[in-house]
Structures are given as structure tokens and as C-alpha cells.
Symmetry: D2
Subunit: 300 residues, 4 copies
């Protein structure tokens, strides 16, 4: 299996403080009308650090059931190797087809290349699922260097990487160093540099903004594939302010507010995250105004 195209890292809907599987199914039903490649559950945008082990597995079950046969990846990285493996085994049992594994990062100073490599190999050795590396120095404070990624890519259980660093030189280097490895997928981790990543040879992207404007994201991929560069650049340029709003600027609260405004169910984040405050919500509404808000038809 080689993953490509656009995969939204699904937000986890809460109602009354609890996971709402009903809302999750409704969102999926809307997303299924879009040409998305598949789904990611339990990513950073899914508020995975706030979910218990059992909640995590339950979310996976719901998404697999609602994905209309599309591939589902699940975030299974925990701080300890043992808990990461345990969770990976559990989500495999409910039908997830890949594990997107964020490395531990609490003890940044001790997570040198040796420790990171050991962690990923231990998990991949034990995992029944293909493992995808996840590089997000903005959250983790640690960067997976291209040489380490290229090393790990040779492990038969490691199938790709989601790179959210935004370091396009290193993304190019990862693609270059893994160009001869069959079935290794490099995926952009943000809608801000989707087109740049595709231009350099990335297979697709996993990006928060695809929860809000899935069609627009898919249109970028289509324009790229068809060589319509002017269209692709314009679509990419238009997406950047919205992308920033739901990531660096307002994070998960921004993402959920944007989903509400776009006709999906966003709802409140779990505490300590707080709902986006009203003035920012208005600003977000004006940014979203440039996009069509009918779910499933978010752009021209």
C-alpha cells in the first residue's frame, strides 16, 4: 500500500465533555462525498493527548466503520515505547491500516538520534501495521533529520513519514534519499506547503485544513497532477491564511470553530483548551468567507 493524496487528520468531536461518536460519523459521511484518499484519527488535531486509551480505541473503531472503505491511519505515539506498542496493537485489532507514530519528546535532551532510531525500530518490530514516522518539531521540540529518516525508511515495517516541519530543504532531501525505496510515502504535514511538497515529489498530505476545506485541498492536488500550475499556485496561495488560522495561529480551537462555520461539527475542545473567543471567531468567519461553505463543496 502506498498512501497519497489528501487525508484529513480528523478532529475529535466532544459533546458534554465526552467523545461524540455520532458527530464523528456525521462528519465522516460528509467527508466521504469528497475525493479524499483516507483519514487519520488520533493526530494532534484530534486532541489525542486528552483521550484515554479506551477512548482512543473507540474512536478508531468508529472511523474505520464510517470510512467507506478508505484507509485509516491512527496516531499511536505515546511517551513510553511499551505504551506505544500496546496502543498500536489495540488499534490494529479494530481495523486501522497504519500507525502514525509521533516519537516521545518529554525528555528532549535524551532523545538523540540513537534513542529516536531505537524507539522507531522497536515499535516497527512489534507492530502488525505499517509505521509512519511523524516529524513535528513545532510541537515536539525535536527534528527528525533526513539522514535518520532515510535510515529508518529501510526498515520493512516503516512505510512513510508525515513531515510537518515546514523545512522544505529537508523534505526535498528526504524524498531524494528515499527515492529508490519502494512504497515509502512522504506526506506534507500542513496545507501551507502542499504544492511545494508535491512539486518536489511528495505523495500527498495530511493537513488540518482538510477538515475545513477538503475539496480545496484536493483541487490543489488535481491541478498539480494535470500540470495546471497557475491554478495550483492560486489555490495554494488562497489556502494559506485559512491554513494558518487553523494551525499556528489558533490551533485546535481555531480548527473546530472553522469546522462549525464550514458546516461540519467542530464543537468545543476538551479542557484545558478553550473555545475560540468571539472576536477571533468573527475574524475567522471573514477568512472563511472566501471559501464556499457547503460541506462537500467548499470551493469553486
Amino acid at each position: 500500500m502506498r498512501i497519497g493524496g489528501v487525508l484529513p487528520p480528523l478532529a475529535t468531536p466532544f459533546e458534554g465533555g465526552e467523545v461524540s461518536h455520532e458527530r464523528l460519523r456525521q462528519n465522516l459521511a460528509a467527508y466521504n462525498r469528497q475525493p479524499l484518499e483516507g483519514y487519520v484519527v488520533l493526530g494532534s488535531n484530534g486532541e489525542f493527548p486528552f483521550l484515554s486509551f479506551d477512548e482512543k480505541v473507540a474512536c478508531c473503531r468508529t472511523v474505520v466503520a464510517g470510512a467507506a472503505g478508505r484507509p485509516v491511519l491512527a496516531g499511536t505515539g505515546c511517551e513510553s515505547t511499551r505504551e506505544t506498542i500496546e496502543l498500536t496493537l489495540a488499534v490494529a485489532r479494530v481495523g486501522v491500516c497504519g500507525a502514525l507514530v509521533l516519537h516521545p519528546s518529554y525528555y528532549k535532551g535524551s532523545m538523540d538520534e540513537r534513542a529516536l532510531g531505537r524507539f522507531y525500530r522497536d515499535v516497527a518490530d512489534a507492530s502488525p501495521l505499517p509505521v509512519y514516522l511523524y516529524n513535528v518539531p513545532q510541537y515536539s521540540g525535536i527534528n527528525l533529520r533526513p539522514s535518520l529518516v532515510a535510515d529508518l525508511a529501510r526498515h520493512p515495517g516503516i512505510a512513510g513519514i508525515k513531515d510537518s516541519s515546514g523545512n522544505i530543504t529537508e523534505l526535498a532531501e528526504i524524498i531524494h534519499l528515499t527515492r529508490d525505496i519502494e512504497d515509502f510515502s512522504v506526506l506534507a504535514g500542513s496545507g501551507g506547503f502542499l504544492l511545494a511538497a508535491l512539486a518536489l515529489g511528495a505523495a500527498g498530505g495530511i493537513m488540518a485544513v482538510a477538515n475545513v476545506a477538503p475539496r480545496h485541498c484536493c483541487d490543489i492536488v488535481d491541478a498539480f497532477k494535470e500540470g495546471r500550475w497557475e491554478d495550483a499556485r492560486l489555490l495554494q496561495g488562497e489556502l494559506i491564511p485559512l491554513n494558518r488560522s487553523v494551525t499556528a495561529r489558533w490551533g485546535v480551537p481555531g480548527l473546530k470553530a472553522a469546522m462549525d462555520l464550514a458546516g461540519y461539527y467542530g464543537g468545543p475542545p476538551r479542557a484545558p483548551l478553550q473555545p475560540l473567543d468571539p472576536s477571533h471567531r468573527e475574524e475567522l468567519r471573514s477568512i472563511l468567507g472566501r471559501f464556499c461553505l457547503v460541506p462537500g463543496e467548499d470551493t469553486r
Copy 2:
């Protein structure tokens, strides 16, 4: 209760990958022969991110039983408010007398002062234990500003702060702004600036190096209290290289190796952390050589 003096944030001993309560009791028995004020369990040095909920509660039970009546604080900060409260309630039931609460930090960008303040107030409202703030930007990527700390210090359920930032100006400002609040304890979070913190009015310190050289740390406090400044400066200066070895330089693996060398049980950390490699262990031995290695009599 006002906490002062020296409290080691206890390392969690593992054998065969599991928590060794026997080793923990042995270490405590040795520490009880030192003039330590009390103990902290489930701190960063206790590898709390690698422990399950049940393991955390079990560690607290063991430490409370083995503390010879000295006060025990437990680290109960989790990424979600709900899990933090749940854990605080659980450790309270086994006899812990204070909760040292690290705020959530995964979503750094969303943890502004409003969210941080709300988090701490929600936890303090729900906690049967006095809550101690914990500022450690090196790990968390977030700094608790003095003005926020002074605000929170007015909450009747908030009893102090462990500040590991090393920003001595802000530590002085925290002490200044809370000088009229009865029973608010400011504690240095590292052995590197214990004397500076005491000079500015801090009540004591919670520091990793007190697992290795508890007597030496207590001697600094004694020299300070008795106005023996030259002694205090010399003791502080001597401690710095060891302190750095077990914190910034080699982290938990360094701390555990140093404990082994000093006659306590350190043992291996849990994966993904790796034991200190042999060459660093030798370097550590030479740094430790300047200290007396008999547990309970680590310095002149």
C-alpha cells in the same frame, strides 16, 4: 503547612521493566537518614510520563509508607484537566500531602495566560490537596510569568511553586509579589541556583541532584541559614558540575547512573530512554569522585 528545605524528586526504580517498590523503599530508607524536608514522587526525574495511572498511584503509596512521616508531594499534571483532577484525587486517597502540578503543554500555542490560569484554578478548585505550580520551560516550552503566578497565589488552594526555569530575575519577582501571602512557598527547581534562590528569599528547593548528594544540598541550606557565606558559595560552586550532569547534560539516564555510583539504586530508565553509555559513565564517576560516596554521608 509551609514547605521548605530540600526535597529530592525521587527517581522511579525499574527492574526488568517494572517498577521496583523494593528498590524504592531501600532508597527511601537511606534518604531518611539525611536531614531532608520531604519527598516528591512522580516528578520529571521520576519518569512520570512513562508510568500508567495505576503505577503512579502505587508509587505514591510506597513513598508515603516509606517516608518516615515526612511530607510527600506528588506530580499529578496530565495533558487534560479531567485526568489531572482524577489523578490528584487518587493520590490524595493514598496519603500524599500536596500536588505538584505541571500544566499541559502539548498545545503550546493555545496555552496562553487565560488557559493556564483557568487550568490551575479548575484543578485547585477540585483538589483536596494544596496545589503547587510547576514552571519548567525547558521541558514544557511555556513560561509561567510572575504576574500570573502572583495572581494564582491568591487562590486558597494554591500553596507554592517549584520554579525550574533558572530565570533568577523572575524568581525574585515572584518572591517579591507574593511576599505578603501567608503560606506560599517558592522553591528552587534545580541545584544550580539553590543558593541564589535562598538569598532572594526562597524557602528551599526540589532538585534532581538531591537524589545523589542529599547531604551536600542540605549543607548549602545550613550554611546559608547560619550566614556562613563563604562556605555556602563554595558548596554551591562544587555542586554545579554534578548538578549539570544529572539534569541538562545527561538527564534521567545521568541521574540514575549517578545514583548507582553514589550507592543508591538507580538502575535503567524505561524505554525510549537508554542507560548512560559507558564513556559518559566514566566521566560521571570522575565528577562524583569529588563527593563522598557513602549514602547518607555524601559530603564532608
Copy 3:
């Protein structure tokens, strides 16, 4: 005039501690045999902070004379507005055709958007030359945000930007926001992301590595223009290790050593910079081994 293609930011040759104009002319003679668009003098790679005012003007004179009619830009940013203007006027008098202006950065905390905007407008108002903005947060600790760049781009005296930040999302946004401004050139500031920048609509690049492998850099532009994407990606991928060696990894000493190895005159940097040490020079030789070393024919 719209600048595009590849421009090397020329190294400044020293012999016996003094600028060697003879070596500079020799290097230019070799570069003139390559399809380079023009030259940049007094850039970061030209050790401009080590040159006196008079040395700076003299270098410009030599480069203009030796450029075979190609356009020459000069770095004229100084810490004060007045000195920046004075230098810009001086280099204009010797035939330079554009000023690449790095903003002041010593007082980072005070250089907010208002101060940055004011600085660039004051310089552009006074300058007889078109002004190019220069964004290099790695050196300056300050990032020029796309919204500020787009604002400044509307000034008739501001003609483009060299963006060395490597933030490809912001580069895309700058291009998007300035797409309707005639004659505003966006130039990549590093060989690491030349292809990505071109794909998003950049006009070309100013990059250190073009001092060492000018033909290779021009080949990337050609392959891109002709739609030979596989070639372009391969060329880009191959360039990255060399590019890193002469920038982030070993800086100016690495650049000069690589120039020596590639058949140009690099020579020693000025103190406090030290020549690359022998072991790194050998490592550099092996990286360069993959490129053809005849000056003017550096690649297939």
C-alpha cells in the same frame, strides 16, 4: 528591470589580510563563462561586516567592472538608517544597479513591524537604486512577515526580496500577495529550496552555493523552465549536501574551502573567522567529488 535566474553572492577574496581585487577579477572571469544572471556583492557570504566603508565601495567598483555587463546588486544594510543610506549612495555612484538591504537587527526587541517598515521606506525614499528586501532570520533573529513584505512591495523604490528564511509557506504567501505588482522579484536565498521556490513562482535565487557550482544551479533553473521535473528534482536533491556544507554547516569558511577545491579562489576568511580545519576540508572534498570541478563546467 526584473531580476531572475541565478546570482551568486560573491565571496570576498583576501590575501595577506587585505581584499584581493585581482582574485576577485579572476573569479568573475570564470563566472562570466556561466549562464548566471548577475552578481551580488557585499552579501553575508561576502563577509560584509568585516569590510570598511571604503573597502565596500572598492569591491563594488571591481565587480561592476568585471561583470561583463551583467547586473550587480550590492548589500548596503548597516545598523543605522543614516549609514545605510550613505553606503547606498556611494555604491550607486560606482555603477551598482540595485541595493540588497538587510535591515538592522542588533536591537531585535525594538525592531517591530513599525520600525522595520519605517527603516525600509526611509532607505527607499533616499536611494537612487531599486531596493531589495533581505530576510534572513537565521542571522538576524528577525522575520519579515509576508504582510509587511506585501506592504513594502507597493513602494515604487522597492523592487524585490531575497528570502533566505526557508519558510516555504511564507515564500508562497509573499508571491501570492505580490502577484499583481509589476516588477517585484522574489528570489530564493538558498540553494536548498531553489526548485521549491521556482515551482511556487519565484524568479530565481541568490545563493552561496552558486559560488562553487554555478552551472549546477543554472541547470536546475533550466530543467524547471523546460518542465523536466525528474531532472530538476534529481539536480536539486544532489545539491543539498553541498549547499548545507557551505551555509548552515560550515558557513563562510566552508564556502571558501569549497571554492578552492572547485578551482576558484576562496582563500582564508578574515578574523575572527578561521579557515576550515583539515578534517572538515577532507569531508568537503568528498562531498564535492560528486560534482565536476572544472570551473565553469561544474556539472554534467
Copy 4:
């Protein structure tokens, strides 16, 4: 000569864009009525990066003449070793008695310990004046590690360090490692941690806030020397908000505005720095309101 006590790093007064030597003399006359140890000219707070070589020498001449016999140090660090030496020789000729040398920092990546050590040794070898190291990572992006400082302290031409880092652990380590070196002065570089530095054994401080509240700063030193700890802590705590206003928060524009409000001549900074805007000036006035504003009698 061993430097101690409080030395203000003098602001450079401008009128009509030019250095006003008259205003400088007036400020000095007021400062001379305070128990200050001496003066620093051409420091960061003196806007040295905006002054030409000749302006720098002229400022030194004026300060030496107006210092009433007190020692005057001058900032002579430039980006190149040769210009640093040239300036040091020039200021020595006009009666300055020490050179406070900030190391080059533009090429951060190349300024490793070897290059930093070589730079300071080359300058000290050539300097007729005792050289003081200057550590200010907030501006320079480079930290002078205690082990390097201790090495350099053994050079007979190196007489001390101004440490503005605020890393109190490293300050303690520097003092510890140089405790046996006769005539090596460790000076705090900010009013925020003056008391902490004194407690650890520092000889005094060079701090911006002493331009605004010189008496208050001297009072801290006096209270410390006389063992009046409660007074010292209170004075230190009170100083912190003002200190922050004239450094991290509003920088040189804040410092100059505060000097105006305190009865000295601050005046406008040189462009690109902009005068403090009116709303911040009002905020500053209220912070200053807690201090007595008669120059020379700024506190109880």
C-alpha cells in the same frame, strides 16, 4: 585595578540626529553626585552600533573628561578582529581605562569556542587596556560558557566579565572557577539580578537601569554589604519592573524615555530606533512614579 560597585552603561544623547556632547556632560555632572563606581561608554545602551568610529572616540573623550576621575570603560567590540583592535587602541589614547569587548556574532554558526577564544586572545594581546569579556546571548545569540571564561580569565590582559545572560547558575560557576584569580571582576549585566549576583560573589554590576535610578542601584549594593537582607530584597524586588521596562520590554527607547522622566537627558534614539510611543511613555511614568525623580536622589 579591580572594578566593582555600580557602573551605568551611559546612554548616548542625540540632538538633531547628532551626538550632543553638552547633554552627555550634563548627565555626567548629575551622575557624579551619586556613589557610582565609574562609567561605561559605547555599550549596547549607548547605541554603539549606530556610531561611526570617530563619534565613538569623541564620546570616550567627553566621558573621560566629565567622569571626575572615576574609571571609564568603553565598548570596543566590532565584527572583525582588526577593527576591534583599532578601536581599542584609539580609545586608550583618550584616557579610557578598560575595554568592554563584545565578541563578533554576525556569523553565529562559525563562532565556536575555538574562534571565540582566539578572538579574545588576539584582542587582549594587542590591547594596552585590560579587556573585559561581555556575554549577552539575548543580543548576540552566542553564550560564553563558564569553562571558556575561566580559560580566558587566565590571560593577563583579561580582567573581568560583564555577564548579561541572566543564567545565574553559570554566573555562579564563573565566580567559582575564577575564585583564585587575582583581579578578575565578575559584573552583573542587568539590574534584575544584581542582588543574586552579589550574593554569589560578584563584584558589582553594569546595568542600564543605573542611568535612571543610580541611587537605588547603589542602595542595593550598600544593603547587601551591610547584611541588611530584608532591605536588599525589597529594593531588588522594587527595581525589577523598572529594570524590565528599560531593557527587555522597551529597550533603548524605553531607557531614554525613562531618563527624560527621571530628570536626565534621554532624548530620541537614532533611527531606525523610534522614540517610545506616548501610551508606553504613560505606562512608564506610572512605573517610575514609585521612585523619587530628582536626579541624584532617586530613592528614599
